[in-house]
Symmetry: C2
Subunit: 204 residues, 2 copies
DNA sequence: GTCTATACCAGGATAGAC
DNA sequence: GTCTATCCTGGTATAGAC
């Protein structure tokens, strides 16, 4: 890994726990193992490091949507049709995968915590945060459940309310198990309970 | 309002948007209309201001539980029995009240945003955050819905999963409509939709 | 591309006059 | 209880040697 990449890496770790303002350029340089002045050969300012992280995340989200078979504006309907025949256990497993990705993925977890911290000081960051973790997620799952209702897999009448009922508990548990001390296993168990309740409620 | 109270007031506003580290003692003093040095006649340090805010919130939460008829360790069962006969419209109104309280109450709204920002840098803050917005809320509502199932108002089988299904959308929408720019009316509308879907799903 | 040295400013906090 | 003046530390950033 290049020094530039290591700077981004360590900066993200620090930003996601102490926040942008709570992290000094010295902190980052120290974590990388260089002097703060050397860091300026790679980035012209602290802000530029932050912006690089946001750009990097956008790139990774793009890649992720392919790998995971997740949100992608063009392939939504096909995905919905594919998910039409999903079983309860498969839905539990998929939920756990998404949950663990947002919670623990080396990049995604720290990035989400960073945005959570920084959202209130900057309208632009707030918009990115809401787009990723709220609007896009709900929009995607609304299409998904709409299609599943149409196919007769579920019995709902309001695909959007259904999407919120599926996603909000995931979002809630993400925030609950964000702290380093809490046990992720408990989170997975609680998640499974919610998904099974969701299926029980909406099954035909 | 005394100068000391005004300091707490302005500090909370600043902490809840820029964070603790992002707010200087000079910023606070300026907002109050005094010099930063004068501030030290009221508080011995910046940290003491923060701690005063947390204590103040604890005091207000206590008062709130009486006014609102909300979480209170001793009166839970009585509350559950009282809520046994609640109608759908009453549940919508109650949800909106709680939502608006956590979102807009002059103290509670800013306090929640402050904890949201500061939770990752301090285990103790994280514990307070989770206790207030996750554990206590869910525990209280689990008792509530458990009693309502027992009384035959709702048809659920898992009171805890039900509590999460009721509360998680509220938590999700709180976070979604936290930004200053978004329209609270939209949030209330979305909230109502979720509560009505909740009732539709769990009604006998 | 890393280092040392340095400039410059802002932040937290104290002393002492009024 | 507010002010001015001051201290010290630490933060961002640049210059220049190696």
């Amino acid at each position: 890994m290049s020094t530039k990449e290591r700077i981004v890496e360590e900066a993200l770790t620090l930003f996601s726990s102490r926040g942008y303002q709570g992290t000094s350029v010295k902190n980052i340089a120290e974590a990388v193992g260089i002097k703060d002045s050397s860091l300026y050969k790679h980035f012209k300012s602290k802000k530029e490091i932050f912006e690089t992280i946001v750009e990097e995340m956008a790139r990774r989200m793009e890649a992720m949507s392919h790998t995971f078979g997740l949100p992608d504006d063009t392939s939504m309907e096909e995905a919905a049709i594919a998910y039409g025949g999903i079983t309860e256990n498969e839905l539990v497993e998929l939920s756990k995968k998404v949950f663990l990705f947002y919670l623990q993925d080396p990049f995604a977890g720290r990035f989400r915590r960073m945005l959570t911290i920084e959202q209130y000081r900057d309208q632009e960051i707030a918009a990115v945060y809401r787009k990723i973790y709220m609007e896009d997620s709900i929009r995607y799952q609304t299409v998904l459940f709409g299609e599943m209702i149409r196919q007769g897999v579920f019995s709902g009448t309001d695909a959007r309310a259904m999407a919120v009922n599926f996603y909000a508990p995931i979002f809630f548990l993400l925030n609950k198990y964000d702290g380093g001390d809490s046990d992720v296993e408990d989170g997975l168990e609680e998640l499974e309970r919610q998904v099974r309740e969701f299926v029980r409620i909406y099954q035909k």
